[in-house]
Symmetry: none
Subunit: 400 residues, 2 copies
């Protein structure tokens, strides 16, 4: 990909990348996918003026999490730039990660005092309000271990996020979560030389926080897993010469965008507020990532009809979006979420690329079927960004 950097040049062409989370599907008992079922005249018309293709986020048969799926779409090798569970959890609650932050996911649990074993890995799924109270108490009483700042942030129910901020931290640590009730939590141990300080700091934090929680009937301890540092990423500005921004109602996607250097625009928490933000800021950036979440949620819930409805809602927004005069439009998914699978899947993602320069298809529908036969072919998701930049005339000729 260094070849891309060598031919990038800035211009004032504006790119909009719409990621409809979990866009692709699979046929239900009717024999049709969600996209094939939805009535979507605007997307079909756009498809008729576009080039279509299919993207694979990671590789054949691999079902991606949201982190790697988005990094691939932004042009980063998703295996080389792994986004760990702790980092993703921190991004998911809107925490702004720095390059000095060791993140880890924490679960309140119930420890049997006599045996020292985990009686309930989720502390009876304590209410979020109780979580917030306990997290605040820990935060007040344990602020620093050695020269490392400790930041504690509540999630939902029994979940929270720990961030250790300091110099020379490593994520090569064992986890304390024994994975099953009835076992003792395991102390954190270094998995590599250079991880000793991190291990020591985390264990000392565990001791001190345990004292804070000792009086609690349910949430008297917590388990740690997914130690991770933010992946080292060359931001989009530097990599592609872009001035990029993100419009996303959900914190995790804003967090992923922030990792690659995007400006985060205030977008509210509905599709309507996202579109309003887009209309407001469309002229200010040469690359905008616009994220729509709900299709994925419907897929995860196994709600085929609900996903169809959101596809039709997306379709209804297309005329407003087209009116904003972007030079390049992309409509795609980060991964597929077929309602029949109730989760992310390995299926490749429909890709629609519109610009004044695309070779059109002769098809008049935006479906998995049409995209599978599309002129863009099948490609790794990491190839989308170069194609998009080319269609925005942001890549010079290579070689003489």
């Amino acid at each position: 990909m260094d070849i891309i950097k060598s031919v990038v040049e800035r211009n004032d062409k504006r790119i909009l990348m719409i990621v409809a989370d979990g866009l692709g599907g699979a046929p239900n008992e009717t024999g049709k996918t969600e996209l094939e079922t939805a009535r979507k005249p605007n997307l079909d018309q756009l498809a008729a003026e576009s080039s279509l293709g299919m993207t694979a986020p990671i590789g054949p048969g691999i079902t991606p999490g949201s982190g790697p799926a988005h990094l691939a779409l932004f042009g980063y090798d998703p295996i080389a730039h792994e986004v760990g569970r702790g980092v993703l959890e921190a991004l998911g609650i809107g925490f702004e990660i720095t390059d000095k932050d060791l993140c880890v996911r924490a679960n309140f649990c119930t420890l049997d005092r006599k045996s020292g074993r985990v009686a309930d890995r989720r502390a009876g799924r304590i209410p979020t309000a109780e979580n917030q109270e306990l997290v605040a108490r820990i935060g007040r009483q344990v602020k620093r271990i050695e020269d490392v700042e400790v930041i504690v942030r509540s999630g939902r129910e029994h979940r929270f996020v720990l961030v250790f901020r300091g110099e020379g931290l490593s994520d090569r640590l064992t986890e304390s979560d024994p994975q099953k009730d009835g076992r003792e939590p395991t102390p954190i141990q270094p998995l590599a030389t250079g991880a000793e300080k991190s291990s020591r700091v985390v264990n000392r934090f565990l001791e001190q926080a345990a004292k804070v929680l000792e009086p609690e009937p349910a949430a008297n301890y917590f388990l740690l897993r997914g130690f991770s540092l933010a992946p080292k990423i060359v931001p989009l500005q530097e990599r592609y010469g872009l001035n990029p921004a993100c419009i996303a109602a959900y914190p995790m996607y804003r967090g992923l965008a922030q990792l690659v250097g995007m400006r985060i625009l205030a977008a509210g928490d509905t599709w309507e507020s996202e579109i309003a933000a887009l209309e407001q800021h469309a002229a200010e950036h040469d690359f905008i990532f616009l994220h729509f979440k709900e299709l994925d949620k419907m897929g995860e819930d196994g709600n085929f009809a609900g996903k169809v409805q959101y596809l039709e809602k997306l379709d209804a927004l297309v005329p407003r979006i087209r009116r904003l005069g972007f030079d390049v439009l992309v409509v795609t998914g980060d991964h597929s979420t077929p309602a029949i699978l109730k989760g992310h899947s390995w299926h490749p993602n429909p890709l629609l690329l519109w610009s004044p320069y695309v070779r059109t298809e002769g098809v008049t529908e935006f479906t998995e079927w049409a995209c599978a036969r599309g002129a863009l072919g099948r490609m790794p998701a990491t190839e989308v960004m170069p194609l998009v930049l080319a269609n925005a005339l942001k890549l010079k000729k290579f070689g003489a």
Copy 2:
């Protein structure tokens, strides 16, 4: 591909991979391929419920042998895991290779006593019975050289297999076959350091066996080529967490299956006995490789009509196969064998993948044409296994 190993998880879903050897073809003077000519309502119906694609065993334009073609389908890089001629020959006569075995193909030949030159590289294609008698005689009289056991096994006519079993053997040896009559056999020489012992052992064996054959009028010597060790292969159990089995009427395919760790099921030597074995063992394994040979033989013979007949015979078996309730079905070839070429070819292989989760095609035929436009696209044959595992829900999500 290590990423696959990191996401594999076992479940009770059952996969059937049907390899119709030499499945793909090319048009004859009618303008139609063998698949386009055959009447095959059951395969066409299965195609209508499946995703289709095309696989390339090795690379563009490369015609594969059976060894690399099958290894690719089983998910192994066929170039990194080369199956040498000696190994393939040993597998072809049903010999069970171990990781201490140096295999080589041997041909009885006639040596002119006065000149020491090869008078006939095939010893007049002596009858197989004579071959068996001579091989038994060598086997009785030369059993061991230094600490290396020597195993001799008859093939057909003038061909036999030699296996040197011991520690520290190398296949980096020159061959003794001068390739043309009228030349002297060349002594075996090491091609790398570490191959000296192998070279010495083979040359001493040649001396001793030559004495045994001295009285023979025709087969008074033999030539060696294709020294090879079994490729180092991580078995399917370990690689994909499978409990795999093989049903194949021909020894070579059983041998290839054994190399990758499959249990070899007794399958008789007809399609009918293979299907009977499948019906008997379908529930015992989560992966069954079912091999049908005769299409390839018809192709090799240039027998277009014969290949069409076997395609129709395959079609007739489909309902019995579907009744066995596999969760994932694959129908493909290892390589193409167009009758008009009378041999293996470089053409990619039709691939049919059925599971409850595939995106269907809207096509109702299983032909090269339909597969070339299939939703799975064109892929290296090594990508079939990850796709198949995904469709059996045997791969967890990658990344958070």
